[in-house]
């Protein structure tokens, strides 16, 4: 029966295929699943959260600003701990062969979507064995949210334990996607709970059609979408992990757009008359974190001297092949509150050598840790480390390059008393400066389980971050973060390497694609010329 239905819908699809506009995206990785809550990979969200679902708040296209999504407006209490969301009416859920919604989106769905992640005894908390809600946990939602109440069908009140300025941005993140409670109930009754992850039902601009593991995902336009809706009729993800193959498929017209081209191919793409290339500074930073608890790296002047010994531009050229902006601040220039006025330490081996001598540091030998994997913020850590090694040898510092298996690397680099400076980086989750500064540099994250790999704890800096977090006024927050960046530069816990540039090659026929600073790929605005 299922096959028959599928056949019928397939026939219907193929019958209309000639007139329908099909957009093919050569995606990089298979989605982990289609429920956005339990997963963490960007490629998963591009396939699930963005086309299929909506959130209470959304990021305005092409920015990190928050705009209304499934909530049309919200009121915040004086003390900043109560958020009352007014929900959008008339939002239709998708349907599939097994499920036809009988009601529109409402407050029950919101409460269901949050509570299944937040409360361990919720019947849907472990709907698949081994499921965990990493984003919900790591964004500190369990500690933050005190309660969620339904006021009426279209009003929901969130009560927080303390004021949290980035809250509205947090709930625009993929993990906070709203799923249908009615669908969940139907699945529960049918005993196929795992279909929440396999056959998703959402409110987003595209409806899920089918997924063939590691090969193809198909979507069709949601004609009943509450917003402007998609222009193309069918959306296809052709999963192509290899960058060279992706490019070849793009050239052959087998797909219209691809993510993550190999840096080496950028020139070829620019030269190809049938292709165009969008680019944007990425929301990321690559850095080298000294261990600020160990001598002589506990001395800010020593760290500064080392920073001055490394030729940053050479790394940008040789490792990023020019596809990056040298970094002077710990947050990228596309982020609000980026402090333009800060002047980077100059590349000056002579001055560096002198400074080291003044501090009584001679015959220094140190380790530099290079990650074993390629990351969006660092295409080749080993090569960067080799360049640093050579630069530092010119000021009399001997460098040994070390590396570990990736999981081990992440763990060992956070062990107290670590020997050496660690290369690592960060890609922003929600466009809020707090998501960089607090996570990577605050006193709170300098201990076990944190991500402050410089172990740098500066009371003044951390105080600024805390104040900013409970301040609602954006201008005030900006001033606080700008001040924090001044302290950072002065204390130099990191050698800031670069903010890598994102490139998106696409066919000339494609119009309307908007690059997301968060690195998302969304397609409701794209069109293809015939």
């Amino acid at each position: 029966m299922k096959h028959l239905l599928l056949c019928a819908s397939a026939l219907a699809l193929s019958a209309t295929m000639s007139e329908a506009k099909t957009f093919v995206y050569c995606s990089e990785a298979s989605p982990e699943g289609f429920d956005p809550a339990p997963f963490t990979a960007g490629g998963t969200f591009d396939a699930s959260a963005h086309p299929i679902y909506n959130r209470l708040t959304e990021f305005k296209k092409g920015t990190t600003e928050v705009e209304p999504g499934l909530a049309t407006s919200w009121d915040v209490s004086e003390d900043g701990t109560e958020y009352t969301f007014h929900l959008r009416e008339g939002v239709k859920w998708h349907s599939n062969e097994k499920f036809t919604p009988t009601r529109d989106f409402n407050a029950d769905d919101v409460i269901f979507s949050y509570e299944r992640q937040g409360s361990a005894d919720h019947p849907w908390h472990q709907y698949i064995a081994g499921v965990t809600y990493e984003y919900y946990t790591s964004m500190a939602m369990p500690e933050l949210i005190k309660s969620i109440e339904k006021i009426d069908d279209y009003t929901v009140k969130f009560t927080l334990n303390q004021p949290e300025a980035p809250f509205l941005a947090n709930i625009a993140m993929p993990f906070a996607s709203i799923v249908s409670k009615e669908y969940a109930d139907a699945l529960d009754a049918a005993g196929t709970k795992e279909d929440l992850n396999n056959l998703p039902i959402g409110t987003g601009p595209f409806k899920f059609v089918a997924y063939q593991k590691d090969a193809v995902i198909r979507y069709t336009k949601n004609a009943d979408y509450w917003g402007e809706g998609a222009i193309i009729d069918d959306l296809v993800f052709a999963i192509t992990p290899d960058a060279a193959v992706r490019l070849q498929k793009l050239k052959a017209g087998e797909c219209h757009l691809m993510p993550y081209p190999a840096p080496a191919d950028i020139e070829t793409i620019k030269a190809d008359p049938n292709l165009k290339l969008d680019e944007q500074a990425g929301l990321n930073v690559g850095y080298l974190a000294y261990n600020t608890t160990v001598a002589p790296f506990d001395n800010a002047r020593v760290r500064k001297a080392l920073n001055m010994a490394i030729n940053k531009d050479a790394i940008v050229e040789a490792v990023f092949q020019g596809a990056a902006a040298p970094a002077k601040n710990p947050i990228p220039p596309t982020m609000w509150s980026y402090n333009e006025s800060i002047v980077d330490d100059p590349y000056d081996p002579e001055a560096s050598k002198k400074m080291l001598e003044e501090e009584g540091v001679t015959d220094l030998s140190m380790k530099i840790w290079a990650m074993p994997v390629q990351r969006p913020y660092m295409p080749n850590a080993r090569r960067s480390a080799e360049l640093m090694q050579e630069d530092l040898s010119k000021v009399g510092v001997k460098v040994e390059i070390v590396s570990y298996e990736w999981g081990e690397y992440l763990q060992k680099s956070m062990e107290a008393g670590r020997d050496g400076a660690v290369m690592l980086g960060w890609t922003g989750d929600n466009g809020d400066p707090d998501n960089f500064l607090s996570v990577l540099l605050s006193c709170d994250s300098a201990g076990e389980g944190g991500a402050n790999r410089a172990f740098w704890c500066n009371e003044e800096f951390s105080k600024l971050l805390k104040d900013a977090k409970i301040t609602a006024d954006p201008a005030e927050r900006t001033a606080l973060y700008e001040q924090a960046q001044v302290i950072f530069k002065d204390q130099a816990p990191w050698f800031t390497i670069a903010h890598s540039t994102q490139y998106v090659p696409m066919s000339n026929k494609v119009s309307g694609f908007v690059m997301s600073p968060l690195g998302d790929f969304t397609f409701e605005t794209v069109d293809i010329a015939e």
Partner: protein, 335 residues
């Protein structure tokens, strides 16, 4: 015959237990912690780490974990992938047809061409055909197939533009997944051009995968034929004036097929190893690529159950080969 089969099966049990131990213990001593990999740059608090490890069962003593693994296995539960949270068996079954399709196609190409070339080379022993084909066979046998695949892509996809770069079928075609075999499903769908598209996607990968087995089969067929043709009954048949094609067809070929069938059966392991490389090069969504990805992602349950399934598969095919061999050649059974 039944006793023969039973004895063979009994023989497999200790091997299979050994396989479960290897699959389990290798995976358990893989360095790298899946919980840490899941957390990435963000890091994870020790409490959360312990909580997650407990949830995954990795905090139990290793022997306990092994027996737990065995017990679940007997119930048909191979665990869930850490990445997709889906049952490993489901994932395997979803990808398996792609690998089988590729492998079958390769083995058919290898057998048809290999046996034909081998027979002719044997008949025309010493001729230029024999020399060239056997030289080529040795080249094929020595081929680094990952490179060979790249060359074919450069030539047929890059320069000539005849074949698609990767995937199983053009994305224009969409039809339900009935058998999982793209060639059959495309025919069932009745969509014009779908079958041709599936075939054109299959041709390069299966050629690449067929290369080594083809060479082995050609060489084996040739030497088996030569051996048989030197035997008395063939000579007698010839002397009696039986036409050449009948001598070859009836006597020589049939007898020479016994070792050749074994050779073909033994190629299953070679095919699986080749599939890992071929699938990687052609982005073919099969179990070879799945295993590679899972190893690098430290997806413990997938690696251990995948190893187990593949080894079991190889064992079963080897058993079938043994049995066929026993059927063709009853003398074996007595031994």
């Amino acid at each position: 015959m039944i006793r023969f089969i039973l004895s063979k099966l009994l023989y497999l049990i200790p091997t299979f237990i050994g396989i479960t131990i290897i699959a389990f213990s290798f995976v358990r001593i893989l360095p790298g912690d899946p919980v840490l990999l899941m957390a990435g740059e963000r890091g994870v608090t020790p409490e959360r780490h312990a909580e997650l490890s407990a949830q995954l069962g990795y905090d139990q003593p290793i022997v306990f974990q092994y027996f737990d693994f065995l017990a679940r296995l007997l119930q048909g539960d191979m665990g869930n992938s850490l990445v997709t949270k889906k049952p490993v068996l489901d994932e395997f079954l979803a990808l398996f047809p792609a690998t089988v399709e590729l492998g079958l196609c390769a083995i058919i190409i290898a057998t048809v061409i290999g046996v034909t070339v081998g027979v002719f080379a044997a008949i025309k022993r010493g001729s230029w055909f024999d020399q060239i084909s056997m030289t080529l066979a040795l080249v094929g046998f020595s081929m680094p197939i990952f490179w060979w695949g790249l060359l074919l892509i450069i030539f047929f996809s890059g320069i000539l533009g005849w074949t698609p770069v990767s995937g199983r079928i053009s994305l224009l075609y969409y039809f339900p997944n009935v058998t999982g075999f793209m060639l059959i499903d495309s025919l069932l769908s009745g969509q014009k051009g779908a079958f041709t598209s599936a075939l054109s996607h299959l041709i390069l990968p299966s050629l690449v995968l067929a290369t080594i087995p083809l060479a082995v089969i050609a060489r084996q067929t040739r030497s088996a034929m030569l051996e048989v043709m030197g035997e008395d009954y063939v000579r007698t048949a010839r002397a009696k004036g039986m036409p050449q094609y009948r001598v070859i067809g009836i006597h020589a070929l049939r007898n020479a097929m016994v070792p050749v069938v074994t050779t073909i059966g033994l190629q299953i392991g070679v095919l699986m190893a080749g599939a890992i490389l071929t699938e990687t090069i052609f982005s073919w969504p099969g179990i070879g690529k799945w295993m590679i990805d899972s190893i690098s992602r430290r997806d413990y349950p997938v690696v251990q159950s995948g190893l187990l399934l593949i080894a079991a598969l190889v064992m079963i095919v080897n058993l079938l080969v043994d049995l066929t061999y026993g059927l063709i050649n009853p003398r074996i059974r007595v031994k």
